[in-house]
């Protein structure tokens, strides 16, 4: 294996210079975003430095408790992030469903992946567990955000269709079937599309990382194929849980629509 080039202080400084040049262009052109670019760059630097040190420590002192705490923080962050990203107000019941499907769906996929597919011993080996969990949780989070937005918007915009279906004796499930199908499309299609374009339109981040760190492209694609399948699984599982449990929160025990009046 070739040795990866270690970036020196000056090399990183050159990368920052690149951003500074960009900020100058933005300023000259009068695009009022130079503050955002600078703040984002600084924030990114601090976050990554912190994560780098934390990971270095955890890798050296691997312990199941560390792994569990880190996955816990990831899941919590993902759930809070979904609440923030969805623009419409979310009912308490739906929030609970979001948290449940997010945690159950991604954890099940992570465990299957760690224990069955890659078969790591010990199971908590942070060098494998943390990056894989991060990818599965992150993608599930994006999918659930899209799904929740579409679910709430759909129930709102098509309220008259849903209520008419109920008037005619439809079950809540039948009445919301169209909306549910659109939620699946919105949430799962991006992952499927990225699978289709993979390797041709772009080289995925994980594969790029492995190649840069000196792994052979063949090893890199093995991992990439496995992780892509894991992503599809984790995304689908969380979204299925979200939808199958989530649509019910828009109806009460009398199968009436809960939100507001017509």
């Amino acid at each position: 294996m070739e040795q990866t080039i270690d970036l020196t202080f000056w090399q990183l400084a050159a990368a920052y210079l690149f951003v500074l040049i960009l900020v100058m262009i933005v300023k000259v052109k009068g695009i009022p975003r130079e503050r955002e670019i600078l703040i984002a760059a600084v924030r990114m630097t601090i976050q990554l430095v912190l994560v780098g040190y934390i990971l270095a420590y955890v890798f050296d002192h691997s312990h199941p408790l560390y792994t569990i705490v880190i996955i816990g923080v990831m899941e919590a962050f993902a759930v809070v992030n979904i609440f923030k990203r969805v623009k419409s107000p979310i009912s308490l019941r739906l929030k609970q469903i979001i948290a449940l499907s997010m945690v159950a769906g991604s954890l099940a996929s992570i465990l299957y992946f760690i224990l069955v597919v890659i078969n790591i011993t010990p199971w908590y080996e942070p060098r494998y567990f943390i990056p894989i969990a991060g990818m599965l949780v992150g993608n599930a989070m994006t999918a659930v955000s899209l799904g929740v937005s579409r679910l709430i918007e759909g129930m709102h915009a098509q309220k008259h269709l849903v209520e008419t279906a109920l008037m005619l004796g439809a079950t809540p499930k039948m009445a919301s079937r169209d909306i549910i199908n659109k939620v699946y499309d919105a949430a799962i299609m991006p992952t499927i599309n990225s699978m289709v374009g993979m390797g041709i339109v772009f080289l995925p981040g994980m594969m790029t990382g492995q190649i840069l760190s000196g792994a052979s492209p063949l090893l890199a694609i093995e991992y990439q194929i496995a992780i892509m399948l894991g992503l599809v699984g984790s995304v689908s599982l969380t979204v299925i849980l979200l939808v199958q449990l989530g649509y019910k929160t828009f109806f009460n025990r009398y199968s009436q629509m809960v939100e507001g009046d017509m």
């Binding site: 008259h160 269709l161 209520e163 008419t164 279906a165 109920l166 008037m167 005619l168 004796g169 439809a170 079950t171 039948m174 009445a175 009460n252 009398y254 199968s255 009436q256 009046d261 017509m262």
Partner: protein, 214 residues
């Protein structure tokens, strides 16, 4: 027969006592905003009252399975809701929702005739006019052969002549099939002419109940 006692719903409806008899043409008359639509929604269990009791066939509405109830007590909302697809698909959709078998085209054409909608079954329903959509939506619920038909202003988008024809055909349908019709209207003329049991509602309260002897 529906029996309502001390039924309150928000500050919209406050009904001390009301009986709506079976196999009659019940007309609920009142100004807009008087709570007529809310009353229908309560009978279909699309909304639950805050207090009081609603009995149907001497059983509390809230003890019945709401889905089963709505398949027998079918409601048609005031604004006709049209689903994607043809006239045929729009007629079928009620039966599909209610898990009932779909009949052949002959039966569908007969229903279209009953609601005096002279359109081909394959026409896209979205292309129909407002009044035609209203009649299509009515045809959809007639096809379900309910025990009780709850209609909210079924002729509001029609001109007077079409309204007359439609209501007359509706009355015939109700009598032939021996079902109960509960129809909300703000047209006094319709209520006086066809109603057998006329309930007048004002500001959420029952103002008067009249039974016409025929």
């Amino acid at each position: 027969m529906f029996v309502l006692d001390n039924v309150r719903y928000k500050n919209i409806l406050d009904v001390r006592h009301l009986v709506l008899p079976d196999k009659k043409i019940n007309c609920i008359l009142g100004e807009s905003g008087s709570g007529k639509t809310t009353l229908l929604r309560l009978l279909n269990n699309l909304a639950a009252c805050d207090s009081g009791s609603i009995l149907w066939h001497e059983q509390s509405l809230y003890e019945l399975n709401p889905i089963e109830l709505r398949r027998r007590v079918v409601m048609l909302g005031q604004n006709p809701v049209i689903f994607d697809g043809s006239v045929r698909e729009n007629l079928f959709i009620g039966l599909k929702f209610a898990d009932k078998p779909c009949p052949g085209d002959d039966k569908l054409r007969e229903v279209l005739k009953q609601v005096s909608l002279h359109k081909d079954l394959d026409v896209e329903a979205a292309q129909l006019s407002g009044g035609e959509k209203q009649r299509l939506a009515l045809g959809r619920v007639l096809l379900m052969e309910p025990e009780v038909l709850l209609l909210d202003e079924p002729s509001s988008a029609l001109d007077e002549d079409t309204e007359e024809i439609l209501i007359r055909s509706l009355v015939r349908y109700v009598k032939e099939n021996e079902i109960t019709l509960i129809m909300v209207t703000h047209a006094r003329r319709i209520a006086e002419e066809y109603g057998e049991y006329i309930v007048e509602i004002e500001q959420g309260r029952v103002k008067s109940v009249r039974e016409k002897v025929s």
